[in-house]
C-alpha cells in the first residue's frame, strides 16, 4: 500500500500552505505516522481564521490478546491455579507486568522459560485470562496521531476545536473564534471527497 496517496494543503496564502506542508511532513516523520495516514487534506484560511485537518487512516494490527500467543489451561489437578504456556516469547515482559499488577507478584510463578503459573481460581479466571489485552498497537498509534495533530500541527492560537476520531478517519476543525457551521460542513465535504477518491482508486 502506498503511503500518503493524497496530500494536499489548501490555503489562500500560497507561501503559508507550502510551509505548512513541510511542517506536517516533518511531524509525521518525527512520530513515524507516515504509514498510518492514507489520504490527507488540510484547509487553512488565516483570515477567517480556520484550520481543517482531514485524514483517512490505515491502522495496523488489532489488539493482541493472551490467547493469540499462548495456551491457557487449568493447572495441576486439585490446585487453584492457571497454567499459561507461551508459544512466542516476544510479549513475556508485558504479560508478566500485567499479571503482577492484577494478581500480585507472590501469586505468579515461572518454573520454566515458557511456563507461567497463576495462583487463582481457574473456573472464574480462565476465560478472563484468555481475553486479557497485552498490547494495543492501534491505541498507541492513535495516541501518537492525536499528539501530532492537536499538539504540533494545528496552530497554537486555534484553541476552539472540534474533532471526530474513528478507526477509519480523523477530522479536526480548529479556530481562534467560535466555530461556524459552514466550516463544519466544509470539513464533512472534505472527508467525503477523500472517501470518494479512496473508493475510486
Amino acid at each position: 500500500m502506498e503511503q500518503l496517496e493524497t496530500f494536499m494543503v489548501e490555503s489562500p496564502d500560497a507561501v503559508g500552505a507550502k510551509t505548512t506542508k513541510t511542517l506536517i511532513q516533518d511531524v509525521l516523520a518525527d512520530l513515524s505516522l507516515n504509514r498510518v495516514i492514507g489520504r490527507l487534506r488540510v484547509f487553512v484560511d488565516p483570515v477567517e481564521p480556520v484550520f481543517i485537518f482531514a485524514a483517512l487512516l490505515r491502522l495496523g494490527t488489532p489488539a493482541i490478546r493472551l490467547k493469540d500467543f499462548a495456551k491457557v489451561d487449568m493447572g495441576a489437578l486439585g490446585k487453584d491455579e492457571v497454567k499459561i504456556e507461551l508459544l512466542r516469547e516476544a510479549f513475556t515482559i508485558k504479560l508478566l507486568n500485567k499479571l503482577w499488577e492484577k494478581y500480585g507478584k507472590e501469586n505468579i510463578v515461572q518454573p520454566d522459560k515458557k511456563i507461567i503459573v497463576v495462583k487463582t481460581d481457574p473456573i472464574k479466571e480462565l476465560d478472563v485470562l484468555r481475553e486479557i489485552v497485552i498490547e494495543e498497537p492501534q491505541q498507541e498509534v492513535l495516541d501518537r496521531l492525536i499528539d501530532a495533530i492537536a499538539l504540533r500541527i494545528i496552530p497554537e492560537g486555534f484553541r476552539v476545536r472540534k474533532h471526530e476520531l474513528s478507526s477509519s478517519h480523523v477530522l479536526f476543525v480548529a479556530s481562534e473564534d467560535t466555530l461556524k457551521p459552514e466550516w463544519l460542513e466544509k470539513a464533512k465535504d472534505i472527508i467525503e471527497s477523500l472517501r470518494r477518491s479512496e473508493d475510486n482508486a
Partner: protein, 308 residues
Amino acid sequence: MLEPVMYEGGVYKHNQIIELVEDLGGYIIQKNVMQTDVVLLMLVPLNDMDIVEEKARELLGKLTRAPLTGTEIATVAPTLAYHHLPHLDCDVAEFLRKKGAKTNMVGLARGVGKRICQLSAYERDLINEHDLAVFILGNYEHCIIEKSKRLYEGIEVPIVVTGAPELKLEDVPNATAYVGSFGRILHHMRHSEELRTLDKLADVIGKVLDNVRQEIAKDPPSVAPPRIKKEIEEQIPEIIDSLHPLPITLQMNGARVKLPYEEYHEKLENIQFVEGMSMKDVAQVLPSKMRNFVLIRARPKSETGFVI
C-alpha cells in the same frame, strides 16, 4: 571607538593576540578553547585594527567583524511548546550565539493567536532589558501582520520579526526589521538555503545593532561596558564562583551581573575607578527582572559631563 571582532585560530601562541589587544586598550569578552582551536570575541580600538590584523595573519588566524559581540539578544517565541521548540527557536538562538551575541530565550505565557495574543508587564520589562528582541512568528502573512499590531506594545528595544512570507518592512507594523523564509519549521535548520537564511538574519540584526551603536555614539556612556566588566572582575572576586553562563553579560549600554542584587548592589555601587569615580557616579545599579540578578546601566555623557 571600539570595533567588535572575532578571532579564530590555533591555541598555539594565541596569548600573543590577547596581550596585544589588552595593551592597545581593547577588551577580551569571551574565550572559547575547543581542542586545538580557539575563538576569541573581543573589542579592538578602531585605529589599531591594522596592528591586530597583522598579528592575526602572522599567527595564521582569521579575524572577522562580529557586530553581535557584546550584545544581549532576546529570542521570543509565542510559547514554549512543541510548535516552536526545539527547532527554529533553538536554532536561531544558537546561531546568534555562534556569531557572538548572548541570547536568552523568552517564551510568552499568552503569546499565541492573532486576536488573543498578549504581552504581560513582566515579559515586557524583561524583554526591554535586552539590546534587541527577535520575535519568531509563523507561516501566514495575515497572522504576522495582525499579531504585530498588538504584540509589541511597550517594547522599546529594536524588534526583528521572522516569518515565512517575504514581506516588506512597511507591511509589518511596529517592527524595526523583518526577515522572511523562516516560518514554523519543525526540523533542524541545516540545509544550505536554510543556513543562508540564518546568515541573513544575523546580517540584518548586525545592521540594526550598528544603527543603535551610532545612536549611542552621539551621547556616549560615561563608562564603556567592557570597562565595567573588567573592574567587576578585578574588584569582586566572588564573580568567579558564579556558575551562570557568562556571569557578566555585556550589553551595548551596560551589563547584566549574575549576582544576587540584595547582597551585592552596594559593593557594585562602590566599585572604584582609577580616575577617582565610583560606579554609582557613572552608572545605575538596578535590580534585574531576570531572577535576582543585577542590571548595570551606564549613565550617558550628557548626564555626568565626562567619559572615562
